[in-house]
């Protein structure tokens, strides 16, 4: 029995870390950290939606994340407010709206802490299915978009002149990110999703000579953090999601202190 839930936690964590590596790399390259944060803050609204419509809560979260991604895409075209201001409004608006909506449902009691910081030890087989199918779809989509997305990341107008369908690629990427954020929620929780996206990618940067290498390394570093975090959490009886993030921070710090030429000849 113990083995079972630990194994599920391990598989779930590794699955999420694998997906987070490549997506996190793009989040870092395109400076979308606040964007990821904003999406994840809407999760409670998705939970409320799931209860109202009597659908799977993960489906509710995915739907709300997708809607918010569309909203953000359009809101960034206006020039009245800086985009970090817009993101802040959406993030905290969505979080508060979610809390208020849930408080109206008197017969619903949810474990708020589990949604805020994740509950990896309570991962069910169904959750594992969401992580691997959702994550697999997201990874396949990203692989398909890789080249045009990289071109857009380098210079949007240049990509457009060279015939890349910029708007369509951006749309699809935002949709995939929203999907990733939704399936990661269970493992590290809405407040820490962005951490698992950006910390492994930032750690990988120092050791990567090209974009693909950085994405793969970020996945591996994320997996390492998951293993260390699970072990630490079990050993010292600490909350698992935060322990994984602490482990990721420690790996980041060690990588930062490591001599630059350790794995990569100086470029």
């Amino acid at each position: 029995m113990i083995d079972d839930f630990l194994l599920r936690a391990l598989f779930g964590g590794l699955g999420v870390a694998l997906v987070a590596g490549p997506f996190g790399s793009f989040v870092v390259w395109r400076r979308l950290a606040y964007f990821g944060d904003t999406l994840s803050h809407s999760a409670l609204l998705g939970v409320a939606l799931g209860f109202i419509l009597h659908v799977n809560l993960t489906v509710g979260i995915i739907v709300i994340c997708q809607l918010l991604a569309i909203l953000l895409f359009y809101s960034q075209r206006q020039r009245q407010l800086a985009s970090d201001t817009m993101l802040g409004i959406f993030a905290h608006g969505a979080l508060s709206l979610g809390l208020v909506a849930l408080s109206f449902m008197e017969d619903v009691r949810i474990d708020l802490v589990a949604y805020l910081f994740g509950d990896i030890l309570a991962i069910s087989n169904g959750d594992l299915g969401w992580i691997f199918i959702g994550g697999g779809v997201a990874l396949a989509g990203l692989l398909w978009l890789w080249k045009p997305l990289l071109a857009i990341t380098i210079h949007e107008d240049l990509a457009r002149v060279e015939g890349v369908p910029v708007d369509r690629v951006n749309w699809m990427f935002l949709g995939l990110i929203a999907l990733v954020v939704a399936v990661m929620m269970k493992v590290v929780g809405m407040l820490l999703v962005t951490a698992l996206l950006i910390i492994p990618a930032a750690t990988a940067r120092r050791f990567a000579g090209n974009p693909e290498m950085m994405a793969v390394l970020a996945s591996l570093i994320g997996c390492l953090a998951v293993c260390l975090g699970l072990y630490g959490s079990f050993q010292w009886d600490t909350p698992t999601g935060p322990t994984i993030v602490v482990a990721a921070c420690i790996v980041f710090t060690l990588g930062f202190l490591a001599p630059r030429g350790l794995f990569l000849k100086d470029q």
Partner: protein
Amino acid sequence: MSNLGQPFLEVSAVELILGKRLLLENINLKVGAGEILTVIGPNGAGKTTLLRVALGLQKPTSGTVRQRPGLTIGYMPQRLHLDPTLPLTVRRFMALACNNDQGKILSLLAEVGAAHVIDSAVQTLSGGELQRVLLARALVREPDLLVLDEPVQGVDVHGQVELYQLISRLRDQRGCAVLMVSHDLHLVMAATDQVLCLNRHICCSGTPESVTNDPAFVELFGSAAVQSMAVYVHDKDHHHDHCSTCGRRSAND
């Protein structure tokens, strides 16, 4: 063959209003085969905006932009805002546009004098190196028309002369037309066939010699600036040679 007489790019009566600001007013221009047209003007004159309209990146409020059917454009943006976390070598930057054709990458970089930076990270390039690499990238698709946004930005004076000469040479060797933007008044005059002076509307246009004598030009840039340029225009052949020698000497800076 029937396309021969048609201009590569024709902008007619273009007006652009964004929000309540009038950015471009009644703009007409034509770029024909093998021709270099330079748009000059003070900061905020709408030079980059005009390029974006010409490229089809920005839809004009009214007026038309016509590209010759089948026209291939090579675009050199003003700068790259690459995040330092993106590990990208010059080789990879070029490969993205040409399906990893290594021979082509090498020959293009050699053509613009940037072969030595092929394995450097794009973020570590000097201003002049970056401009050359961007120019090589613009050439990847063997364009009929090069559109260059401030091609000598961030480059010292010697490097500027060299880059303008490189652009003229590319035009001569490849027979492509060039539409470029510059806020520099002096050096560009020696490298262009036609000048278009922009300050939201077209103040004056024509050959470098005719434009510098135009009262509208003097009014836009001030008489002091114009007098100092007379040297460059009238003395351009001498200036050209003089600088190409000293430019070559400092090519490795």
